[in-house]
Symmetry: C2
Subunit: 441 residues, 2 copies
């Protein structure tokens, strides 16, 4: 048999134990936080019928959907009937339509799960990656938007992330702004795309893009003047009062600001647009100061959930940038404990001879009953102590138990602390106390 | 837009909050148990390159693999290049080959993850279902087989399952048995398939099948006599001593029995075959007494892991029948708490008027700081108390906090225990103590 390439498929990763443990810890912290905020976990299948996904992510997004070939007699057709989920929002919309009356209103759910996109793989860009969404379906109250902000920032804090701030805007305020500059409605999304880059390309860059996109010089100059003013927020606020939708947006922003005042570090960000076109009300971004990168974002999207049912269903939510956050946590952990071994069991019971294997299993059971993590050495070949201690070291084991024929005959046990080399031979009945002391040291 | 069918794809399930919570509890118990036994978590991608999976599961299995269509310009070809994982063993074999020297030897890993099979969906049979595997790679020691048995049965006990027993056999003993009846080697797997049905179809049924499959009357009669003997185990043991491989199998069985003696309820099961053809040594099944169904199984498979590298790699492991176990736990839970509400947050802070929403968020933060799960009511529409209490009831909330304008002015708070209707108005600084009392009641 020719050898098969043993790498994972392009754009996917094998997660080895230390990484799985780190991710599982983070997921568990996030779950605990969202549970504490009254959100409930939801899980949906990895694949959906193709028609559920197509047409929801724009032409470009549609190209990136992994499609599943039909099976049996239909396989030869080359047609697909299923597809891997592309995000967690469309499945949520389907669930809201399917189980509507069985769900409480509002329905507050979170989901931490992988999604799949056939993007070109690159550094930090995977074809399989986890998303973490928290949403409130069926409420038009801004209390829900505020509660999302509190839950999301609490989760970031619980993960140990520090130094972030929240930028808040409203799509209504943005629409008012565009309107008040006299930019025609059909150019609104072009204008927002340019404005969203302000942080990256500066006022002159934005002005250049706007002009390129066919927006009048007058509008571009008015915008430039506002953003260049001594107090840009005051200038924009003043302008928004002249537009009905702009004023509604401002009221929305101020309401959310007031609701989370003193709880979340949040500020009004007049030109924050958030790329996605489906937002209808407040939108936010959580920016990590050190990285100057977005680590969470979200907003209100009252039109989206209705895609599987008649009538709009109000909805608001947020998403943690989970892969980026996991990378931050990994870096922090690597800095804190460079070269740390895998977190294996605390104790290894060595096996000195075949006759001692049953005894090793029994000792392991006893140690486990004392609440410790422990394994009997299960390797094959010659039962050399040096090999077993090397294995223990590799696994990050802290104490090795050694019990050869002499110790078994004398009803004693030897415990060896691997970091210090300290070794104690004690009566078997002192095993638990001795382990506790050595593990505490 | 025509309404899209909101059901999940055929053979898949949406898991609503109460079910996700139950599953997550079970997964977490299993993880804790395997961690305590020194096994480490591994995670692999949902899809693999097609060539990694094809040819590993027999012709029938190959038909059930979900294949993923090529993308971009290649999509029109109708060809597949990727496929959803079909089990957790083949990906493990790939990982062992890919990261060999980076992994400790033996490599003890567990994985709890969904797999996908295009089986015809049916009652209790899904196209997406979870598997839970625990394996030791790189050890030929029977200590590893015994440690698997202890870990698997500990996990079942930790899950609260009671009344199970382990049946143990060895593929070597089975081969010896077949040999000693004079059944030719090329009919061995036919014979084992028939023998494996003994529990279901009885001795006469097995004898009939064997004859049908071309096995001689002499062999069938000898087998029938052994199984019908006063002490069938003694008869089989006696026969096995006449075959070299049979004796080796018996020695293997007796060694594992001795190693787990007094720890695991295990017995030698002379005709237990376990369907899969790749087993090479000890095999076991955990049978739930009440159900008379297999809830876990496994064995040694020294030839399988080598499929991605040259040379055999010894391996042994077990698998929990996770979906069946989850069903058992669900039934037990349903019997214990018929009609129980979803486990929502413990406390709901109601919102009596728009002015009180900020206060409700602040009170919720305070309650959360006391270690309780809590949400501010985030629904829209008219803020009627009755509607909010109904929502609280639906979510399984135990105490509702009511704080209208009067209470806010007087710096008091009202706590209402939903089960009893008991309601207390206390100074705000007594909130935590009052909640503790009401929740304890």
């Amino acid at each position: 048999m020719a050898t098969i390439d043993a790498n994972p498929a392009s754009g996917t990763r094998d997660l080895l134990p230390a990484e799985v443990a780190r991710r599982e810890r983070a997921f568990s912290t996030i779950r605990r936080t969202f549970d504490a905020h009254g959100f409930a976990p939801l899980d949906t299948p990895a694949f959906e019928r193709l028609e559920v996904l197509t047409g929801k992510y724009g032409e470009e997004g549609d190209q990136l959907i992994f499609k599943i070939l039909r099976r049996g007699d239909h396989a030869a057709s080359g047609d697909a009937d299923l597809a891997l989920r592309y995000d967690l929002t469309v499945p949520l919309a389907r669930v809201a339509a399917r189980y509507g009356s069985q769900l409480p209103t509002p329905f507050k759910r979170y989901q931490i799960a992988p999604v799949w996109r056939a993007d070109r793989p690159g550094k930090g860009r995977y074809r399989e990656f986890f998303q973490c969404d928290v949403d409130t379906i069926g409420s038009d109250s801004l209390t829900a938007d505020a509660a999302t902000l509190v839950a999301v920032t609490d989760a970031l804090e619980a993960l140990g992330l520090e130094g972030f701030r929240v930028q808040l805007n409203s799509r209504k305020a943005l629409r008012g702004l565009v309107e008040s500059y006299g930019i025609p409605e059909q150019l609104e999304s072009e204008a927002l795309t340019a404005l969203d880059k302000l942080d990256k390309i500066g006022i002159d860059g934005v002005a250049g893009e706007l002009t390129e996109r066919g927006i009048t010089t007058a509008a571009v100059e008015a915008l430039g003047a506002d953003l260049d003013a001594a107090d840009p927020e005051a200038a924009v606020r003043d302008r928004l009062t002249r537009s009905e939708v702009g004023q509604a947006g401002l009221t929305e922003v101020d309401r959310v600001l007031a609701l989370v005042d003193g709880v979340v570090p949040v500020a009004y960000a007049p030109v924050l647009a958030r790329g996605l076109s489906y937002y209808t009300g407040p939108v936010f971004e959580v920016v990590h100061d050190g990285l100057d990168a977005t680590i969470a974002a979200g907003g209100r999207y009252d039109g989206l959930i209705g895609m599987f049912q008649s009538g709009d269903v109000p909805a608001t939510g947020g998403s943690l940038g989970l892969e980026r956050i996991l990378l931050l946590l990994e870096q922090a952990e690597a800095a804190a404990a460079a070269g740390a071994a895998e977190e294996g069991p605390q104790v290894l019971v060595t096996v000195m001879d075949e006759d001692g294997a049953g005894d090793a299993l029994a000792v392991a059971a006893r140690v486990r009953a004392a609440g410790l993590t422990v394994e009997p050495y299960s390797g094959g070949g010659r039962l050399k102590l040096a090999k077993q201690l090397k294995y223990a070291d590799r696994r990050g084991v802290r104490v090795a138990i050694i019990r050869g024929g002499d110790e078994r005959a004398a009803a004693t046990v030897t415990c060896k602390a691997l970091a210090t080399g300290e070794q104690r031979t004690v009566p078997l009945e002192h095993l638990e106390a001795t382990l506790a002391e050595l593990l505490e040291a």
